[in-house]
Symmetry: C2
Subunit: 400 residues, 2 copies
C-alpha cells in the first residue's frame, strides 16, 4: 500500500514537474517579445559568417571576432521589400559608403535585401565586398540589352546630332549616351527586372549618399500602413534645356488616357496654371522609397510607353526624376506621396536636414542645419507643403 | 495519518518546486551570457532619452521613435576608459562625423564616455549635439590658461621671429601660435586635466576621421590584458624643419635620466645608428589608444618638462606625434606598443586599410585597399614590423 502510494507520489511529482517546466520555459520567452529579437533566417536573411577570420591575421593582430556581435534587430515580420542600386564595378568604393550609411542608420535593425543591377557583369570583388556589408541577402542582376540600348523607333543620327548640340551648350551629361540609357532604364525598366519581380517595395540608393538621422522604424511598413506609393526627401526645379517637350508629351498621354489621371492629384505641385505649363518641379529620384506594383501597373506602363515613343529620352535628355515625379503627381492621390522629413539625406550637391533643433536631437541627426535645402528658393518642398495643406515645420523661416 | 501524509506530500512538492524553479531560472540565464545584453545604467552609462520627439514633428512626419532601439551592447564590465577630443565650437560638424564613425564601428556596442576639451567654453549647441550622438557619458572641460599659453621661460620675441621665418619658408602651421599651444597641450597636459584624472585609458579622436572596419571587441580591455601602454595605426617621417633640435633635447634628457630608458626598447624604430641620429619615424598621434597612468608617470613627466624647457615647442614647431612616439619608443618595452592593424582609419591625407582581402572581408572593412599607406615609402610601419620581428601580413608586397 505504502509502495503504491510512493509510486503515485512519484508519478504526480513527475507530471507536475513537466507542467512546471513547460510553464516556466514558455513564460520565460514572453519578455523577449518586448525587446528586439535576433531575426531567424526564415524571417530575416542574415549574411554568411565570413570564414577563417583570425587565421589570416598577423601574429600581432588583435582578436577582432570575425562574426561580430549580432545587431539589435527590430522584432516582427518584414515587408516584401528591397534596396535597389544601379552601379558599375568601378562604383564599388562609392557604393560601399552608401551601404554603410544605410546599414548604420536603418538596415542593421531590419536586414532587408539589396538588389544590384548593372549593364555589365558584376565582378567577384564587387560581390564579395557588398555581400560582406549588407545585413540582408544580396542579389546581382545584369540588365538585358534591350533595356539598355536604342529602341528601333529612335533615329540614331538625329540623337547623335542632339548630343553634339547639347555638348556645345555645355548641358550636364548632354553628350552622354550611357546617362540617357540610365535615365530611360530607371524610368521604365528597373521595376520589371526579374530580380525585382519578387518584391512589392523598393528603396533606391545611389553611390556616395549619406544619411544623418537614426531611422528606428520600418519605413516600408510605414508606406504600406499609410497607403503611400511614392516618397521623396529633396525636390527642385529641372533644367528646362533637358526637357523642352516633356510636358507636351505628358499632355498627349493624358488626353489619350484620361482614365489614368486621378482625382485629388498633385497638379498644383507641377503647374501654376492648372496644367497648361509645367513649372519644372520634381522629386529628386536618386532617393526613392516606393511601391513596385504601382510602377508595374497598366497606368504607369502606358505612361512610360507613351513618353518612350515620343523619343525625348534620346532627342532631348529627359531625366527619370521628372518622369517619375509627373507620374506620381498625376496618377497617385495627393496623400499617396510622402515627404520623409526624418530621413536626413545628402547626394552631391544637396542636403535635406530636418528643420528644428529639438527634432534633430530627438532623431539623432548629425547634419548641419545650415546645409538644409528645403527652404531654399530652388527647392519645391515648400510648394509640396502648400499642395498638401501641410503646416510647415516650426522655425522654417529662420532656416530660409 | 493520511492527512499528515498529504501535508508531507505538499511540503515535499513545494520544496522540490522551489529547487526546480531555482535550477531552471538560474540555468536559463546561462545562454544569455553568450549573447550581447542590454547594459544596465550601473555598468554602461547611456545617454538621456531625448524629450518631446513626435511633438515637434510636422503633421506629415513619420513616427520615428525618439529613443530608438536599444543597441546590441557587449556583455561584461567596462574598463576605466574614455574617448578624448580637443575641439573648438567651430569644429562641431566635423567632430560629429568622427563620433558617428566611432559609435557605428565600435562604441555603440561598448558605450564608453567621451571627454571634450577646449581652450574656450563649449556652447550649448556643441554640447547638445554631441551628447545626443555619444552612447556613453559626455563631459566638457575648459583648458586652464597656464596650459595654453607661453610659459615664463619662453622668450616671446624670439618665438615670434621663428614664426615669421617659418612662414616665409612655407612650413605648414609654421606661423601658428594656437597650433603650437595645441602640440604642447597634447604632449604634456591633456592627461592631467581634472576630467581625465578619473580614467586609466584613453582613445584620442580628431574631427573628420573615418573608421572602415567593424571592431567587435573591447580595444581597451585588449590593451590591458596584453600589457600594452601605447598604440598606433599609421606611422610616417616627420618634417625635419619642424624638429631640428628635438633629438638633441631627447639625448640631454636620457643622459640626465638614464633610469627612465628601459631595456628592450624600440630605439631601432627611431634611429638607424643606435641613437646617434633620429630617422624622424613617429606614430601619427591623431589616433592613439593609450594608458594615462604611463603619461602621468614620473618618467614621462620628467621627459616632457625637460623638452618643454628646451623651448622647441615655440622656438621650433615640435609636434606631439614625435614627442609621444619617442617617449613610447624609449620608455616603454617593445611589446608594450601595439599596432592596431584591424582599426582601419582615415585622417586627411592618409589611410590605414588592412592588408589582405580575406582579412578585410572578415572584419567588414569598406576601405579601398589601394589607399592603404602602410607599405608606402614614407610610412615607418614596415620598420615597426622589423623592430618587433613581426611577420608582415600576407600579400603586403602586392600592395606596396
Amino acid at each position: 500500500m505504502a509502495g503504491t502510494q510512493r509510486y503515485l507520489r512519484y508519478i504526480i511529482f513527475a507530471i507536475v514537474c513537466l507542467i512546471l517546466l513547460f510553464f516556466i520555459s514558455s513564460s520565460s520567452s514572453v519578455p523577449s517579445a518586448n525587446w528586439p529579437t535576433y531575426g531567424s533566417p526564415d524571417t530575416v536573411p542574415s549574411p554568411q559568417p565570413p570564414k577563417g577570420a583570425v587565421g589570416d591575421s598577423t601574429p600581432s593582430s588583435t582578436p577582432n571576432p570575425a562574426n561580430g556581435l549580432p545587431p539589435a534587430t527590430a522584432a516582427g515580420d518584414r515587408m516584401n521589400a528591397t534596396f535597389v542600386t544601379l552601379a558599375r564595378n568601378s562604383d564599388l568604393w562609392e557604393i560601399v559608403k552608401s551601404i554603410r550609411h544605410v546599414e548604420d542608420r536603418f538596415n542593421r535593425k531590419f536586414n532587408y535585401d539589396w538588389v544590384f543591377l548593372n549593364d555589365d557583369d558584376f565582378n567577384d570583388e564587387f560581390k564579395k565586398v557588398t555581400t560582406a556589408l549588407v545585413s540582408g541577402k544580396t542579389k546581382y542582376g545584369k540588365i538585358p540589352k534591350e533595356h539598355w540600348s536604342f529602341p528601333d523607333f529612335i533615329d540614331q543620327d538625329r540623337a547623335a546630332r542632339v548630343r553634339d548640340e547639347m555638348k556645345e551648350k555645355k548641358i550636364i551629361y548632354g553628350d552622354s549616351v550611357s546617362y540617357r540609357h540610365m535615365c530611360r532604364y530607371e524610368s521604365g525598366f528597373f521595376f520589371r527586372h526579374p530580380l525585382m519581380l519578387d518584391y512589392e517595395w523598393y528603396w533606391r540608393v545611389e553611390p556616395s549618399i549619406e544619411l544623418y538621422c537614426d531611422i528606428d522604424y520600418d519605413t516600408f511598413r510605414f508606406m504600406a500602413e499609410n497607403k503611400k506609393k511614392y516618397s521623396f526627401v529633396l525636390s527642385l526645379y529641372e533644367y528646362v534645356e533637358t526637357i523642352p517637350t516633356l510636358w507636351d508629351a505628358v499632355k498627349n498621354f493624358t488626353s489619350a488616357h484620361p482614365e489614368h489621371v486621378v482625382e485629388d492629384n498633385s497638379m498644383k505641385f507641377l503647374s501654376d496654371d492648372g496644367g497648361k505649363t509645367y513649372n519644372h518641379c520634381h522629386f529628386w529620384s536618386n532617393f526613392e522609397i516606393g511601391n513596385l506594383n504601382w510602377l508595374r501597373s497598366k497606368a504607369y506602363v502606358d505612361y512610360f510607353d507613351s513618353l518612350d515613343h515620343a523619343g525625348g529620352f534620346f532627342y532631348e535628355r529627359w531625366g527619370d526624376a521628372p518622369v517619375h515625379s509627373i507620374a506620381a503627381a498625376l496618377m497617385l492621390k495627393r496623400d499617396e506621396i510622402h515627404f520623409f522629413n526624418d530621413i536626413a539625406y545628402y547626394h552631391v550637391p544637396f542636403t535635406h536636414c530636418p528643420t528644428g533643433e529639438s527634432y534633430r536631437l530627438d532623431h539623432k541627426c548629425h547634419c548641419n542645419p545650415k546645409d538644409n535645402f528645403d527652404w531654399n528658393g530652388y527647392s519645391c518642398t515648400a510648394r509640396f507643403y502648400e499642395t498638401n495643406d501641410m503646416k510647415k515645420p516650426e522655425g522654417y523661416e529662420k532656416e530660409q
